[in-house]
Symmetry: C2
Subunit: 171 residues, 2 copies
Protein backbone atom coordinates (compact mmCIF):
# COMPACT_ATOMS: atom_id res chain seq x y z
CA UNK A 1 0.00 0.00 0.00
CA UNK A 2 1.20 3.52 -0.84
CA UNK A 3 0.52 6.64 1.18
CA UNK A 4 0.57 9.83 -0.89
CA UNK A 5 0.88 13.13 0.95
CA UNK A 6 0.38 16.70 -0.25
CA UNK A 7 1.62 18.78 2.69
CA UNK A 8 0.72 22.36 3.46
CA UNK A 9 0.83 24.57 6.54
CA UNK A 10 -2.98 24.94 6.48
CA UNK A 11 -4.23 21.79 4.74
CA UNK A 12 -2.41 18.50 4.19
CA UNK A 13 -3.96 16.02 1.78
CA UNK A 14 -3.42 12.28 2.13
CA UNK A 15 -4.40 9.35 -0.05
CA UNK A 16 -3.92 5.59 0.26
CA UNK A 17 -3.93 3.24 -2.70
CA UNK A 18 -3.19 -0.39 -3.30
CA UNK A 19 -1.68 -1.76 -6.43
CA UNK A 20 -3.18 -5.01 -7.72
CA UNK A 21 -1.21 -5.97 -10.84
CA UNK A 22 -1.52 -3.00 -13.15
CA UNK A 23 -4.70 -1.84 -11.47
CA UNK A 24 -4.87 0.75 -8.70
CA UNK A 25 -7.32 0.32 -5.87
CA UNK A 26 -8.57 3.23 -3.78
CA UNK A 27 -8.32 2.70 -0.02
CA UNK A 28 -8.88 6.04 1.65
CA UNK A 29 -8.15 9.74 1.37
CA UNK A 30 -8.82 12.98 3.16
CA UNK A 31 -7.55 16.33 4.29
CA UNK A 32 -5.90 17.25 7.59
CA UNK A 33 -7.00 20.82 8.35
CA UNK A 34 -4.80 22.61 10.84
CA UNK A 35 -5.48 26.30 10.24
CA UNK A 36 -7.48 26.65 13.44
CA UNK A 37 -4.60 25.59 15.69
CA UNK A 38 -3.36 28.45 17.87
CA UNK A 39 0.33 28.25 16.89
CA UNK A 40 2.51 26.95 14.08
CA UNK A 41 4.02 24.36 16.42
CA UNK A 42 0.53 23.03 17.16
CA UNK A 43 -0.20 22.89 13.43
CA UNK A 44 2.91 20.85 12.71
CA UNK A 45 2.19 18.62 15.65
CA UNK A 46 -1.33 17.95 14.34
CA UNK A 47 -0.03 17.13 10.83
CA UNK A 48 2.49 14.72 12.35
CA UNK A 49 0.06 13.11 14.81
CA UNK A 50 -2.68 12.71 12.21
CA UNK A 51 -0.32 11.02 9.75
CA UNK A 52 1.06 8.77 12.50
CA UNK A 53 -2.53 7.72 13.23
CA UNK A 54 -3.28 7.10 9.54
CA UNK A 55 -0.08 5.03 9.16
CA UNK A 56 -0.95 3.02 12.29
CA UNK A 57 -4.41 2.33 10.95
CA UNK A 58 -3.58 1.41 7.34
CA UNK A 59 0.05 0.22 7.54
CA UNK A 60 1.27 1.49 4.14
CA UNK A 61 4.76 0.32 3.10
CA UNK A 62 5.80 3.38 1.15
CA UNK A 63 5.20 7.09 1.16
CA UNK A 64 5.20 9.44 -1.80
CA UNK A 65 5.31 13.20 -1.56
CA UNK A 66 5.28 15.94 -4.15
CA UNK A 67 8.53 17.76 -4.75
CA UNK A 68 7.98 21.42 -4.23
CA UNK A 69 8.52 24.16 -6.65
CA UNK A 70 8.21 27.50 -4.98
CA UNK A 71 7.05 30.49 -6.89
CA UNK A 72 6.18 32.30 -3.69
CA UNK A 73 8.39 34.06 -1.17
CA UNK A 74 10.82 32.62 1.40
CA UNK A 75 8.30 32.91 4.23
CA UNK A 76 5.88 30.63 2.36
CA UNK A 77 8.78 28.28 1.55
CA UNK A 78 9.74 28.02 5.24
CA UNK A 79 6.13 27.25 6.21
CA UNK A 80 5.74 24.66 3.49
CA UNK A 81 9.11 23.16 4.42
CA UNK A 82 8.00 22.82 8.04
CA UNK A 83 4.81 21.02 6.99
CA UNK A 84 6.81 18.71 4.71
CA UNK A 85 9.26 18.00 7.53
CA UNK A 86 6.37 17.04 9.81
CA UNK A 87 4.89 14.75 7.15
CA UNK A 88 8.19 13.11 6.26
CA UNK A 89 9.08 12.32 9.87
CA UNK A 90 5.67 10.69 10.36
CA UNK A 91 6.73 8.38 7.52
CA UNK A 92 10.31 7.76 8.55
CA UNK A 93 9.42 7.14 12.19
CA UNK A 94 7.16 4.33 10.95
CA UNK A 95 10.08 3.02 8.82
CA UNK A 96 8.42 3.92 5.52
CA UNK A 97 10.63 4.84 2.61
CA UNK A 98 9.81 8.33 1.43
CA UNK A 99 9.87 9.07 -2.30
CA UNK A 100 9.61 12.49 -3.85
CA UNK A 101 8.18 13.29 -7.29
CA UNK A 102 8.23 16.58 -9.18
CA UNK A 103 4.77 18.07 -9.73
CA UNK A 104 5.21 17.82 -13.52
CA UNK A 105 5.98 14.13 -13.24
CA UNK A 106 2.90 13.49 -11.12
CA UNK A 107 0.68 15.27 -13.65
CA UNK A 108 2.34 13.44 -16.52
CA UNK A 109 1.80 10.10 -14.77
CA UNK A 110 -1.89 10.53 -13.98
CA UNK A 111 -3.08 12.90 -16.69
CA UNK A 112 -0.54 12.24 -19.46
CA UNK A 113 0.41 15.91 -19.48
CA UNK A 114 2.96 17.63 -17.24
CA UNK A 115 1.05 20.88 -17.54
CA UNK A 116 -2.35 19.44 -16.57
CA UNK A 117 -4.67 21.66 -14.53
CA UNK A 118 -5.87 20.87 -11.00
CA UNK A 119 -9.26 20.00 -12.51
CA UNK A 120 -7.73 17.56 -14.99
CA UNK A 121 -5.73 15.87 -12.22
CA UNK A 122 -8.87 15.58 -10.06
CA UNK A 123 -10.84 14.12 -12.95
CA UNK A 124 -8.13 11.60 -13.84
CA UNK A 125 -7.72 10.53 -10.19
CA UNK A 126 -11.47 9.93 -10.04
CA UNK A 127 -11.34 7.94 -13.25
CA UNK A 128 -8.19 5.90 -12.40
CA UNK A 129 -9.50 4.93 -8.98
CA UNK A 130 -13.14 4.54 -10.06
CA UNK A 131 -14.38 7.00 -7.47
CA UNK A 132 -17.99 8.23 -7.34
CA UNK A 133 -16.83 11.86 -7.40
CA UNK A 134 -13.78 14.09 -7.65
CA UNK A 135 -11.93 14.14 -4.31
CA UNK A 136 -11.18 17.41 -2.54
CA UNK A 137 -8.21 19.09 -4.24
CA UNK A 138 -5.50 18.28 -1.65
CA UNK A 139 -6.72 14.70 -1.32
CA UNK A 140 -6.70 14.37 -5.13
CA UNK A 141 -3.11 15.64 -5.25
CA UNK A 142 -2.11 13.15 -2.56
CA UNK A 143 -3.78 10.28 -4.44
CA UNK A 144 -2.09 11.48 -7.65
CA UNK A 145 1.40 11.35 -6.16
CA UNK A 146 0.66 7.89 -4.70
CA UNK A 147 -0.50 6.73 -8.15
CA UNK A 148 2.61 8.26 -9.72
CA UNK A 149 4.77 6.27 -7.33
CA UNK A 150 2.85 3.06 -8.03
CA UNK A 151 3.35 3.46 -11.77
CA UNK A 152 6.97 4.56 -11.50
CA UNK A 153 8.10 1.98 -8.98
CA UNK A 154 6.71 -0.88 -11.01
CA UNK A 155 7.79 0.34 -14.43
CA UNK A 156 4.19 0.65 -15.57
CA UNK A 157 4.58 4.27 -16.42
CA UNK A 158 4.83 5.23 -20.04
CA UNK A 159 6.25 8.67 -20.38
CA UNK A 160 7.64 10.02 -23.62
CA UNK A 161 11.10 11.52 -23.28
CA UNK A 162 14.04 10.05 -21.41
CA UNK A 163 14.34 13.00 -19.06
CA UNK A 164 11.01 12.12 -17.48
CA UNK A 165 11.59 8.42 -17.16
CA UNK A 166 13.91 8.35 -14.17
CA UNK A 167 12.51 6.84 -11.03
CA UNK A 168 11.26 8.87 -8.10
CA UNK A 169 13.99 10.43 -6.06
CA UNK A 170 14.34 8.92 -2.61
CA UNK A 171 14.48 11.99 -0.38
CA UNK B 1 15.18 24.10 32.08
CA UNK B 2 15.18 25.59 28.59
CA UNK B 3 16.21 23.82 25.40
CA UNK B 4 17.48 26.16 22.71
CA UNK B 5 17.65 24.84 19.15
CA UNK B 6 19.33 26.24 16.06
CA UNK B 7 18.06 23.97 13.29
CA UNK B 8 19.66 23.40 9.91
CA UNK B 9 19.45 20.72 7.24
CA UNK B 10 23.13 19.80 7.78
CA UNK B 11 23.85 20.79 11.38
CA UNK B 12 21.42 21.44 14.22
CA UNK B 13 22.76 23.05 17.37
CA UNK B 14 21.17 22.47 20.75
CA UNK B 15 21.82 23.96 24.17
CA UNK B 16 20.30 23.40 27.60
CA UNK B 17 20.36 25.98 30.36
CA UNK B 18 18.82 26.36 33.78
CA UNK B 19 17.76 29.61 35.29
CA UNK B 20 18.59 30.11 38.96
CA UNK B 21 17.20 33.50 39.94
CA UNK B 22 18.80 35.96 37.57
CA UNK B 23 21.70 33.63 36.91
CA UNK B 24 21.93 31.22 33.99
CA UNK B 25 23.47 27.81 34.49
CA UNK B 26 24.94 25.79 31.64
CA UNK B 27 23.70 22.20 31.45
CA UNK B 28 24.75 20.81 28.08
CA UNK B 29 25.11 21.67 24.41
CA UNK B 30 26.17 20.12 21.16
CA UNK B 31 25.62 19.74 17.45
CA UNK B 32 23.57 17.13 15.63
CA UNK B 33 25.38 16.49 12.34
CA UNK B 34 23.21 14.89 9.67
CA UNK B 35 24.96 15.68 6.40
CA UNK B 36 26.20 12.11 5.96
CA UNK B 37 22.70 10.63 5.93
CA UNK B 38 21.80 9.17 2.52
CA UNK B 39 18.53 11.07 2.04
CA UNK B 40 16.78 14.22 3.28
CA UNK B 41 14.13 12.08 5.00
CA UNK B 42 16.89 10.30 6.94
CA UNK B 43 18.40 13.65 7.91
CA UNK B 44 15.10 14.95 9.26
CA UNK B 45 14.51 11.70 11.06
CA UNK B 46 17.93 11.95 12.74
CA UNK B 47 17.29 15.57 13.82
CA UNK B 48 13.95 14.51 15.28
CA UNK B 49 15.23 11.34 16.96
CA UNK B 50 18.29 13.06 18.44
CA UNK B 51 16.21 15.86 19.93
CA UNK B 52 13.68 13.35 21.28
CA UNK B 53 16.58 11.58 22.99
CA UNK B 54 17.97 14.84 24.40
CA UNK B 55 14.52 15.82 25.71
CA UNK B 56 14.07 12.39 27.29
CA UNK B 57 17.43 12.67 28.99
CA UNK B 58 17.24 16.24 30.32
CA UNK B 59 13.47 16.89 30.57
CA UNK B 60 13.45 20.61 29.69
CA UNK B 61 10.11 22.40 30.16
CA UNK B 62 10.40 24.89 27.33
CA UNK B 63 11.95 25.10 23.92
CA UNK B 64 13.27 28.22 22.16
CA UNK B 65 14.11 28.42 18.49
CA UNK B 66 15.46 31.18 16.32
CA UNK B 67 13.02 32.80 13.93
CA UNK B 68 14.38 32.55 10.46
CA UNK B 69 15.17 35.32 8.12
CA UNK B 70 15.93 34.02 4.69
CA UNK B 71 18.24 35.89 2.41
CA UNK B 72 18.81 32.77 0.34
CA UNK B 73 16.62 31.14 -2.30
CA UNK B 74 13.39 29.18 -1.90
CA UNK B 75 15.19 25.83 -2.07
CA UNK B 76 17.28 26.72 0.99
CA UNK B 77 14.13 28.01 2.71
CA UNK B 78 12.32 24.71 2.10
CA UNK B 79 15.26 22.73 3.49
CA UNK B 80 15.58 24.94 6.54
CA UNK B 81 11.81 24.79 7.05
CA UNK B 82 11.94 21.00 7.00
CA UNK B 83 14.66 20.94 9.64
CA UNK B 84 12.72 23.41 11.79
CA UNK B 85 9.58 21.29 11.42
CA UNK B 86 11.50 18.22 12.60
CA UNK B 87 12.90 20.11 15.59
CA UNK B 88 9.59 21.68 16.57
CA UNK B 89 7.72 18.37 16.51
CA UNK B 90 10.36 16.82 18.75
CA UNK B 91 9.39 19.56 21.21
CA UNK B 92 5.63 19.47 20.80
CA UNK B 93 5.48 15.67 21.00
CA UNK B 94 7.14 15.95 24.41
CA UNK B 95 4.55 18.63 25.36
CA UNK B 96 7.10 21.44 25.43
CA UNK B 97 5.95 24.92 24.55
CA UNK B 98 7.91 26.21 21.60
CA UNK B 99 8.90 29.89 21.52
CA UNK B 100 10.41 31.68 18.58
CA UNK B 101 12.74 34.67 18.71
CA UNK B 102 14.00 36.84 15.89
CA UNK B 103 17.77 36.62 15.34
CA UNK B 104 18.16 40.34 16.12
CA UNK B 105 16.39 39.89 19.43
CA UNK B 106 18.61 36.96 20.40
CA UNK B 107 21.74 38.99 19.63
CA UNK B 108 20.35 41.99 21.50
CA UNK B 109 19.57 39.81 24.52
CA UNK B 110 22.95 38.12 24.84
CA UNK B 111 25.31 40.67 23.30
CA UNK B 112 23.38 43.91 23.81
CA UNK B 113 23.49 44.59 20.09
CA UNK B 114 21.04 43.29 17.45
CA UNK B 115 23.77 43.42 14.84
CA UNK B 116 26.35 41.44 16.85
CA UNK B 117 28.64 39.11 14.91
CA UNK B 118 28.76 35.33 15.35
CA UNK B 119 32.05 35.78 17.22
CA UNK B 120 30.54 38.30 19.63
CA UNK B 121 27.58 36.00 20.30
CA UNK B 122 29.94 33.07 20.94
CA UNK B 123 32.08 35.15 23.29
CA UNK B 124 29.06 36.45 25.24
CA UNK B 125 27.57 32.96 25.54
CA UNK B 126 30.88 31.74 26.95
CA UNK B 127 30.96 34.64 29.39
CA UNK B 128 27.27 34.45 30.45
CA UNK B 129 27.45 30.71 31.10
CA UNK B 130 31.01 30.73 32.50
CA UNK B 131 32.22 28.19 29.97
CA UNK B 132 35.87 27.23 29.63
CA UNK B 133 35.79 27.99 25.89
CA UNK B 134 33.61 29.30 23.09
CA UNK B 135 31.11 26.59 22.04
CA UNK B 136 30.87 25.44 18.43
CA UNK B 137 28.92 28.07 16.43
CA UNK B 138 25.59 26.20 16.13
CA UNK B 139 25.70 25.18 19.80
CA UNK B 140 26.47 28.78 20.76
CA UNK B 141 23.46 29.99 18.74
CA UNK B 142 21.25 27.41 20.44
CA UNK B 143 22.49 28.47 23.88
CA UNK B 144 21.95 32.10 22.90
CA UNK B 145 18.30 31.57 21.95
CA UNK B 146 17.75 29.61 25.18
CA UNK B 147 19.31 32.49 27.16
CA UNK B 148 17.17 34.98 25.26
CA UNK B 149 14.08 33.04 26.24
CA UNK B 150 15.18 32.87 29.88
CA UNK B 151 15.66 36.63 30.02
CA UNK B 152 12.51 37.45 28.08
CA UNK B 153 10.18 35.05 29.86
CA UNK B 154 11.20 36.33 33.27
CA UNK B 155 11.28 40.01 32.40
CA UNK B 156 15.00 40.21 33.14
CA UNK B 157 15.81 41.50 29.73
CA UNK B 158 16.64 45.13 29.32
CA UNK B 159 16.35 46.19 25.76
CA UNK B 160 16.19 49.79 24.65
CA UNK B 161 13.29 50.59 22.35
CA UNK B 162 9.71 49.46 22.75
CA UNK B 163 9.66 47.57 19.46
CA UNK B 164 12.17 45.07 20.81
CA UNK B 165 10.62 44.55 24.19
CA UNK B 166 7.70 42.33 23.27
CA UNK B 167 7.87 38.76 24.51
CA UNK B 168 8.86 35.82 22.37
CA UNK B 169 6.24 34.77 19.91
CA UNK B 170 4.71 31.39 20.70
CA UNK B 171 4.86 29.65 17.34
Amino acid sequence: MILGVDPGSRKTGFGLINQVGSRLEYIASGVIRVHKEPTMAHRLDLIFSSLVEIIDQYCPQQMAIEEVFMGRGPDAAIKLGQARGAAMIAGTQAKLEVYEYAARKVKQAVAGNGGATKEQVGYMVQSLLKLPGVPQEDAADALAVAACHAYTATGLINIAGASHSRRGRLV
